[in-house]
């Protein structure tokens, strides 16, 4: 079901979405942070797309290339976390040419574990961790006839909506306390917009 060609298609699409939403992401980040999230995401995906000729049938290998792309081009929190996630996914999928439903679940589990560990993040902090958790739960619920793209689209939006009115508890955003209730977390927003590409 999910192979090298699918993978390339997805990253091509993510790169396109990252260009479309470049300013939105920067702006959302600028309200509470340094305003580089659009740069971070676009640079990372661009570097992946630039390197797609080096993709092989081994998806683990490809995820390693993706991780390196984010390492090289995207040194902000978001980029660093994604790079760590992609690296751990790569290790776990080494040699795999095709992903099963179980593998997809595994991928999200790895991301969640990695971010908790590396980002010292808790569920409920209003970060990308929460969005990933929403996705994972939805994927696990489904047994057959799964439309991943639908799940990504709907659950990233659900995550975003369910955190409206809640405070952001990580990073510099903490300083703004009550004010952050009115803001979407830029990372969560970005995931929901990127999902439109699926």
């Amino acid at each position: 079901m999910f192979n090298k060609d699918e993978m390339i298609k997805i990253f091509d699409e993510l790169f396109i979405q990252s260009k479309i939403h470049y300013n939105d992401f920067n702006e959302a980040d600028g309200k509470i942070g340094d305003g580089d999230l659009g740069i971070t995401i676009q640079n990372g995906f661009q570097e992946i797309v630039n390197n797609k000729d080096n993709f092989t049938d081994d998806l683990g290998h490809n995820f390693m290339l993706c991780s390196q792309a984010f390492v090289k081009k995207s040194g902000s929190s978001f980029g660093t976390l994604i790079a760590f996630c992609l690296m751990n996914i790569s290790k776990s999928l080494k040699g795999k040419k095709l992903l099963t439903h179980g593998n997809i679940i595994e991928i999200f589990e790895i991301c969640i574990k990695t971010i908790k560990e590396r980002g010292k993040t808790n569920l409920g902090d209003k970060t990308i961790l929460d969005t990933l958790d929403f996705i994972l739960n939805k994927i696990k619920e489904k047994k057959d006839n799964i439309k991943y793209s639908e799940i990504f689209k709907s659950s990233t939006k659900e995550a975003l909506n369910s955190f409206k009115g809640k405070k952001i508890l990580i990073g510099r955003a903490r300083m703004f306390e009550e004010k952050t209730k009115d803001f979407d977390d830029p990372g969560m927003l970005a995931l929901s917009k990127l999902a439109e590409g699926f």
Partner: protein, 331 residues
């Protein structure tokens, strides 16, 4: 805010090349990584002092490599963290066989990448300690102060850690004393204009011609208050009050202060500010042992400045005033 640069994508690379070429007696490229700068003459035996972080803040971070200061530094892109492998290389190069103190500015990417790098080099037998600088009182409340970002106060830590290491202190001891110093530092800044990222080509934020932002971060992160531009004295009084409310100094205390330009704010203005900081502290009978006035931690050509207060112990004072060799530090 026009720039004298070549390809924006070569901005960091060329400026670091220029740094090394201009001061070959101080800086060298690491042999194994072109984004790592080491001293041109490696130290022996002493504890290594290593840092790393985004570019665009010169002299921070790389500028402070030098005898009596840092051993090595990992260099990220503009306002972005260096990667794990770059940091690991900096630690390996900065290690002189007695462990390495990593000084980190408390930015998400930097902290995570340093942590990972420390795990990697631990496997190779290099002992590390991580000191997270948290002097910016605008970036988290007093209760949450371990989460504050590191800004200009960081340089005090570079100097003191460098001096302690040079004097043969163990990694534990260097960590212990610099941790104390870290607790004794407070910085608060104000931004007047944005800077332009070479690759983006446009300002990092917008601010109108009669406004300033108190507590803005060195990447243009929003501060705690945007207000009308005031005269220097009331502005400085306000910043001093916030700093002193946070650190609580007594009239027997002695301090060092740093009046730091974010880039384009000139020395003349820094000295007007320094004069007023002095008056504020004198009124409280706090003794200023040493004032540092200049560009120590910048955001390229951003206009604005920060005030840092370091509360001194005898030990910290001695190490602050010790000799070092670095183009950006005079004693």
């Amino acid at each position: 805010m026009k720039k004298i640069i070549n390809e924006p994508s070569n901005f960091v690379k060329e400026s670091i090349q220029g740094l090394v070429t201009s001061h070959p007696d101080v800086y060298s490229f690491a042999e194994d990584n072109e984004n790592v700068i080491t001293r041109s003459t490696k130290a022996s035996n002493k504890v290594g002092i290593v840092t790393g972080g985004g570019s665009g803040h010169l002299p921070v971070f790389t500028g402070y490599v030098g005898e009596g200061m840092l051993d090595a530094c990992a260099i990220g892109s503009v306002f972005a963290s260096p990667s794990v492998d770059q940091i690991a290389s900096a630690i390996r190069n900065g290690n002189n066989g007695n462990g390495v103190l990593c000084i980190i500015g408390n930015y998400g990417g930097d902290v995570m990448n340093f942590e990972m790098a420390c795990e990697i080099v631990a496997e190779e037998g290099i002992q590390t300690k991580k000191l997270i600088i948290a002097d910016d009182i605008a970036s988290a409340s007093h209760e949450d102060r371990l989460k504050r970002r590191g800004i200009a106060g960081m340089i005090y830590i570079f100097k003191i850690a460098g001096s302690l290491a040079e004097n043969g202190k163990s990694l534990e001891k260097v960590f212990e004393i610099t941790s104390l110093a870290n607790d004794n530092i407070r910085t608060l800044g104000v931004a007047l204009s944005p800077c332009i990222l070479p690759e983006a080509g446009k300002p990092t934020f917008e601010i109108s011609n009669d406004e300033i932002e108190i507590g803005m971060g060195i990447h243009g992160e929003p501060g705690i208050k945007r207000e009308k531009l005031r005269k220097a004295d009331p502005l400085v009084d306000d910043l001093c009050k916030r700093i002193l409310d946070d650190i609580k100094l007594d009239n027997k205390d002695k301090v060092s202060i740093m009046i730091n330009s974010l880039g384009s704010t000139p020395l003349e203005e820094l000295y007007i500010i320094s004069k007023r900081v002095n008056e504020n502290l004198s009124k409280l009978k706090i003794e200023i042992i040493k004032s540092h006035v200049g560009r120590y931690a910048t955001s390229m050509e951003m206009a604005g400045m920060s005030i840092t207060v370091l509360k001194l112990t005898d030990d910290l004072e001695k190490n602050l005033l010790s000799n070092s060799k670095c183009p950006f530090w005079t004693n």
